[in-house]
């Protein structure tokens, strides 16, 4: 497919039109912070180099979502889904959405998650690239090209102050139009260098986990902002006699996450919970699904009040594994 060239103002006008059809989620300023949020005015949309504070996973996996309603003698699915257009998703966030797709919809998972699929089918993603690497970003080490992602429905490139829209799928075709132009040349994808290739037994007990987590206060902000964290809880709420089952996020950084009814808890210590978080992304999901579920966006590193660093932790583990080999 070819690309279309249009000015920023034309793009905003097109966006205003799209807002009639879609719920548009895009980076907007929210309390002095750039966030993916619902756009009410096309002029608010900010398309620049900054990475939004939160990840866009809420578009497919909301923090609180009604999933089932109990009625007299029967149940019905209770999702409230609108077509969503996600504009300006960074390549790392697109990669993370792909990871979630793999976990919730692929055949390797034995079961498919229909609630996720319902939402995913209604989502159109238009990406936008980064021009520079920010502090704590490590997408290049995770093998993600920060300037472009082919795994979305369309892509916005910035060329000399203008926008070059490049549709990539049928869904993304025709969202923005303008004078036809050649799509820009792409660099090759960087190599995925940050990953753990080892057996569970080599990593689980032998690494100095306690030294990685000294600053942790157990606030769970890392999992809250992470674009690939997807643990959840099902919870019933009753309102005026109607019982609704909601799906809410949960976090492995909380001690109650694994607490058994009997009082037994397999993960009582901070280091065990951090180990679960790191290894779930870098060892267990690769084992089960064949990809590492970390997109290198660096949100967990930037926001951690205790200074925990998943990148440093993983590279330390890699070094130690190398040493052990020799």
């Amino acid at each position: 497919m070819s690309a279309y060239k249009l000015t920023l103002d034309q793009a905003r006008a097109a966006l205003a039109k799209l807002m009639e059809k879609y719920t548009v989620i895009a980076p907007v300023m929210n309390d002095n912070r750039l966030d993916y949020a619902e756009v009410t005015d096309a002029r608010d949309v900010i398309l620049d180099d900054r990475l939004p504070y939160k990840s866009p996973k809420e578009t497919v996996f909301p923090r609180v979502e009604n999933v089932i309603r109990f009625l007299e003698g029967r149940v019905e699915e209770a999702q409230d889904i609108k077509p969503i257009l996600l504009i300006g998703a960074k390549p790392c966030d697109i990669a993370a959405l792909n990871d979630l797709d793999g976990i919730f919809t692929s055949d390797k998972g034995k079961f498919k998650d229909s609630f996720y699929i319902n939402r995913r089918n209604c989502l159109t993603v238009v990406g936008a690239g980064c021009t520079s690497k920010k502090t704590a970003c490590f997408c290049d080490e995770r093998g993600i090209d920060m300037t472009f992602s082919p795994e979305c429905d369309g892509f916005l490139n910035f060329v000399d102050g203008d926008i070059l829209y490049e549709p990539l799928t049928a869904k993304g075709d025709g969202l923005f139009t303008g004078s036809e132009a050649e799509p820009p040349k792409r660099d090759t994808k960087p190599e995925e260098t940050l990953k753990i290739e080892a057996k569970e037994a080599d990593v689980f007990a032998t690494m100095p986990w306690e030294s990685y987590v000294e600053g942790c206060i157990g606030c769970g902000t890392c999992t809250y902002l992470c674009p690939t964290c997807h643990c959840f809880n099902l919870r019933d709420a009753e309102d005026k006699g109607i019982v609704t089952r909601t799906r809410v996020w949960d976090s492995c950084m909380y001690p109650k996450f694994t607490l058994h009814a009997s009082g037994h808890n397999p993960r009582t210590e901070k280091y065990q919970r951090f180990r679960q978080r790191v290894l779930h992304k870098y060892l267990y999901i690769p084992e089960n699904y064949g990809f590492t579920a970390c997109s290198g966006c660096g949100r967990c590193i930037r926001s951690c009040p205790g200074g925990l660093n998943i990148r440093d932790t993983v590279s330390d583990i890699m070094e130690r594994l190398e040493e052990a080999k020799e």
Partner: protein, 278 residues
């Protein structure tokens, strides 16, 4: 696997509530359920059981898979959801989705002796297998059966009404043990892992099946291995906090294995390769 959304439960009605334990706590009940949409299951599997407005919990089946018209779940009162379940009476509507999880390798076990060791409520998830093996159609395929049931006090045994029937089965020995001596108790006393050397069994021919609290499983499997049994011949069924039952919610993993889809039945050989985090 059908196209049915695995999150959507189907309705069931409580037919009967049986008070199991006779001790002071009286905290275990068995619920006999009639399902609107009956399903087949195999010993070892579990269901997600919910009371609308209260929440969902995971329970292993506690009745024979050969019974088709109803199923039973044995539930101990330990928390918010189970408290509410215990308040239910006959005729109440509950919701069930399942069955989930893997099963005991019944076919592979054929031709072997079986040794069940259970602690407290751990007898419940083994009952489908016990009843299945005792069924006249299948009893001939297995050798001698030993059963060692442990409970805290004499009143804490569940399914005590079945013990008489089970002990009269051909080629079967049933032992009961309690934690501390009590007046009038003439059976065994002590934790199961200290007692297995008092029970005659052929360690080459026997497959051990353990279920109970995590501490008991760890101690028992060590005892069996020290006794000279191979870890491949020791099976257990694990419990973990679970939400979805289909490997999505991220709660019940031990290493990369999810107890809800790769388990709950594991052999000790499998468990020894998994991280020690259960």
């Amino acid at each position: 696997m059908s196209n049915r959304n695995p999150y959507v439960p189907s309705r069931a009605t409580i037919l009967e509530v049986i008070q199991e334990t006779k001790s002071d706590t009286q905290d275990v009940k068995t619920f006999k359920l009639k399902l609107d949409e009956p399903f087949d299951f195999r010993p070892g599997q579990f269901v997600e059981f919910s009371v609308a407005g209260v929440g969902e919990c995971t329970f292993g089946f506690a009745s024979s898979p050969l019974i088709k018209d109803h199923l039973e779940l044995t539930i101990k009162r330990t928390g918010y959801v189970t408290d509410n379940i215990h308040m239910l009476s006959e005729g109440s509507t509950v919701w069930i989705r399942g069955p989930f999880g893997n099963t005991f390798p019944l076919e592979e076990m054929e031709g072997n002796d079986l040794f069940y060791v259970t602690g407290g409520l751990g007898l419940a998830p083994l009952r489908p297998m016990i009843d299945y093996v005792f069924d006249p159609a299948y009893r001939g395929k297995y050798g001698k059966i030993n059963m060692l049931m442990a409970a805290r006090t004499p009143g804490d045994f569940i399914f005590a009404y079945d013990f008489d029937k089970w002990s009269k089965m051909p080629d079967t020995s049933l032992y009961q043990t309690i934690d501390n001596p009590v007046e009038g108790w003439d059976k065994l006393v002590g934790f199961p892992h200290t007692l297995i050397d008092q029970i005659p069994f052929d360690k080459e021919k026997t497959i051990a099946i353990l279920c109970g609290p995590p501490v008991m499983i760890k101690a028992l499997s060590n005892a069996f291995v020290q006794f000279g049994m191979s870890p491949e011949r020791i099976y257990t069924t694990l419990e973990m906090r679970m939400t979805c039952g289909i490997g999505k919610c991220g709660k019940c993993n031990i290493g990369h294995k999810y107890v809800c889809i790769d388990g709950p039945v594991f052999s000790m050989a499998e468990l020894s390769e998994m991280p020690n985090e259960y």
